[in-house]
Amino acid sequence: MVARGILNFPSRPSIRAAAVAAGPLEKKKSIFGPLFDKLHDSELCGEDTNEKAHSRLIEDACGLALEKAGAMPADADFLLCGDLVNEMTPSNFAAANLHLPYIGLFSACATSVSSLAVAALLTESGASRLALAGSASHHNSIERQFRYPIEYGFQKGPTAQWTVTAAGFAAVTQNEPGYPEIRRATIGRSVDYGLTDPLNMGAAMAPAAFDTLSRHLFGTNSVPGDYDAIITGDLGSVGSSLFRQMAKEEGLEVRRSKWRDAGEEFYGDDPSFFAGASGAGCSAAVYFSDVFQKMLAGEYRRVLLIATGALLSPLSFQQGESIPCTAHAVELSMSGGGQS
């Protein structure tokens, strides 16, 4: 039986390499900073505008991921990438400079995983030998689009999250032993629980994360105990406690150390970031640095990555609409780990 929305990859495409480029605040404040491959000292990353800096981050991360995979941009077959700026211009400009066949993907902050799933599908079909998949966000260019000017003074509440300046990319190849393998993916549904507060995205996204988690577990006949870690994207501290509570009430085993959230961990416990980090670059930066390295080191054998995204726009918010959310999941494992 085919479970709805679940993709199986019997050829086990590998993540051959991964790289992250980030901004100055991430260099200073993120606990993952030392794991990132390139850290810029200025928010503009040497460019004239925030949007160009956003593109620069994408190009840097793509270039580094290819370099680590021992390849050149000309060796790659596809670029799968997305961001949060209108019409995804930063991704489009980066793609123009990389000269690769390119599909822009918008799943808001869940693009890190949706791009990985599409890359795995392309690889599975034989169309791709090397595909770049990832996502990015840039604090200044995203805030100005979704909220207020950067220097505008308004009080953020304890549920607000901080958009990260980072890009994370993975080089997906056909199976190569010794590297994390993409085993399955679950494509998220758009879930709308009627929440309307754009400064409490974690709470809006938690039901989507739970929906995808339960569908993945059911469709793959697995339990949380089968995974070394279940890592959500950017629920933040508020959203992830809601997510864990939902899982608990549905009878799923919740051991605190195993249920991680990239947004909650990103800036440590620093209260100046409120409920934690968010943005399309947040999950990508953690998945493609910390998680990837832990898998290579053998600390994780099988993980489930559930990236969450809030599918709102400033227009839909101003028109009083609720916030539909999604979550996409991919299951990674090291050879021999998990069930086939």
Partner: protein
């Protein structure tokens, strides 16, 4: 979990906004800004040829100028995170809304960027400020004409 149960769970688990603390901080900072404004007003009256009626305009201009400097140096948003309405309601909040939008959009050029967006946030303050002034003036004019009150 259905939507209703989730909404209840969400209400229960979401950290509350510290209302009492926010009110006190807004009161203190808002009051401080007004006290500074009063001091500037006395300064203009004492050292220059302004009267209580005419000192208002240079005082407001000075406060907005200070707010612009603080915004440009990235300090105003930090004050606002602490003070909330205390820094948003006084005229300095108006200056901040204007200059922050102007800084934000300078990459789109002076005409379409700075000029077109400067009043993106502060615009509604002007629209509703002018409109409510008009309504109040209208009411007063009617009352004066009816002989209820004098000018």
């Amino acid at each position: 979990m259905d939507q209703k149960t989730y909404t209840q769970l969400e209400q229960k688990m979401t950290p509350k906004v510290p209302l009492a603390g926010n009110l006190i901080r807004a009161f203190l900072v808002g009051g401080l800004i007004c006290a500074i404004g009063q001091a500037i007003m006395y300064f203009y009256m004492y050292f220059f040829d302004f009267t209580e009626k005419t000192a208002g305009n240079p005082t407001v201009a000075t406060l907005i100028f200070i707010a612009m400097l603080l915004t440009g140096f990235g300090k105003y948003k930090k004050i606002a995170q602490f003070a909330g309405a205390g820094s948003a309601v006084p005229v300095t909040g108006f200056g901040n809304a204007m200059i922050s939008a102007a800084i934000e959009h300078r990459t789109e050029g002076y005409v379409l960027g700075v000029g077109g967006n400067m009043f993106k946030l502060a615009g509604s303050v002007i629209v509703f400020g002018v409109f409510s002034a008009f309504v109040v003036a209208l009411i007063k004019t009617i009352l004066v004409k009816l002989g209820v009150i004098g000018w």
